[in-house]
């Protein structure tokens, strides 16, 4: 079940992330550095209760990754992500995104959220249940929030500087990507950026997407312009 949220530009999401990072810096006395401590942001800074559990069984949905119960300030991450640092942190960052971006909409009575029970037989309350591959606007916004939170632009750019000093130019990048090719140069570049930048809680795939969004990967012809 989905819910509709108003449009938010990338700049608005970036601003919400920066505000949260500022809150962390104020609480801890220093700005967060990669790997961005998303657990501490959720639990200590936002005061959310975090649990890991078998959401798939409890909610009867085979592809659930995480859920946020708004009235209980509770985030539950599915146990299947235990031990998968990249996916776990991205999912938690995504739930934090819902909390920051979408919970205020409920408080302003702008959005009615679907009801879900935490346990079979328990009372259903307003919750956001996130499933693998969901592509509605609320989920896309939460995904962007997670990416910006875990991979701040300034830190990614600094890591790229350490790796090569310039964006990665890939011949026929657009066409190869369109053809669904897994591009080895990009995978290796993302791995180096992760290693140099200390992004140890980020998956290679997430970093590839982030590098592209920051235009740190360009088509060969464009890359030679740098």
């Amino acid at each position: 079940m989905t819910f509709k949220v108003p449009f938010r530009s990338d700049a608005q999401i970036e601003s919400a992330v920066q505000e949260l990072l500022r809150q962390y810096a104020k609480a801890k006395g220093e700005p967060p550095r990669p790997p961005i401590p998303v657990d501490a942001i959720a639990e200590s800074v936002l005061g959310l209760t975090l649990e890991m559990g078998d959401l798939r069984k409890k909610l009867g949905k085979p592809d659930v990754l995480g859920a946020t119960w708004l009235d209980d300030a509770l985030v539950v991450i599915d146990s299947s992500l235990e031990g998968n640092e990249g996916r776990y942190c991205f999912t938690l960052g995504h739930e934090v995104g819902h909390w920051q971006l979408h919970r205020p909409l409920r408080e302003m009575d702008k959005v009615t959220f679907p009801l879900f029970s935490r346990e079979p037989g328990a009372k259903a309350t307003a919750a956001i249940v996130c499933r693998d591959g969901q592509r509605d606007s609320a989920e896309i916004q939460a995904d962007k929030f997670a990416a910006l939170l875990l991979m701040p632009a300034s830190d990614v750019r600094a890591a790229v500087k350490l790796v090569s000093g310039e964006p990665l130019a890939i011949d026929n990048f657009v066409a190869r990507k369109k053809a669904g090719e897994r591009i080895a140069e990009l995978r290796d570049f993302a791995a180096e950026v992760i290693a140099k930048g200390g992004f140890t809680n980020v998956s290679n795939q997430a970093m590839q997407i982030r590098l592209e969004a920051l235009k740190l990967v360009v088509d060969g012809a464009q890359g030679r312009l740098f």
């Binding site: 657990d39 501490a40 649990e51 890991m52 559990g53 235990e82």
Partner: protein
């Protein structure tokens, strides 16, 4: 209503600003198992060594946590096993509803060991 074992663990953990995964790592269990303990979803009490580590991390009383978890320590069991009169003694204590504090008063004055 008396605080349950899991509720106490979560309360102390959050009061001390220890994250779910951070605390689970420190006591050597999985975050999912810790969540199950904290929400009382896990019916069997954790092992004694896990409770000992939790008590140490949270600076809490091991004995009290063991009692809340419904566990008797190996050390206490050994005391009972070592004396065949101990089961009857404990039955009598139970029947007369004597507390540990009542029994302690019967012992000669010795320097207190303090809570563990």
């Amino acid at each position: 209503m008396k605080e349950r074992f899991g509720e106490r663990i979560r309360r102390l953990r959050t009061e001390q600003k220890l994250g779910l995964r951070e605390f689970a790592t420190k006591v050597g269990i999985s975050p999912t198992y810790l969540s199950r303990i904290e929400t009382s979803e896990e019916k069997a009490p954790p092992a004694e060594d896990v409770i000992r580590k939790m008590a140490a991390q949270l600076s809490d009383s091991f004995d009290e946590l063991m009692t809340l978890a419904g566990r008797v320590s190996e050390e206490s069991l050994n005391v009972i096993k070592a004396d065949s009169g101990m089961p009857e003694f404990l039955r009598t204590v139970g029947e007369r509803k004597l507390s540990a504090e009542d029994l302690m008063k019967l012992l000669p004055n010795e320097p207190k060991k303090g809570k563990r």
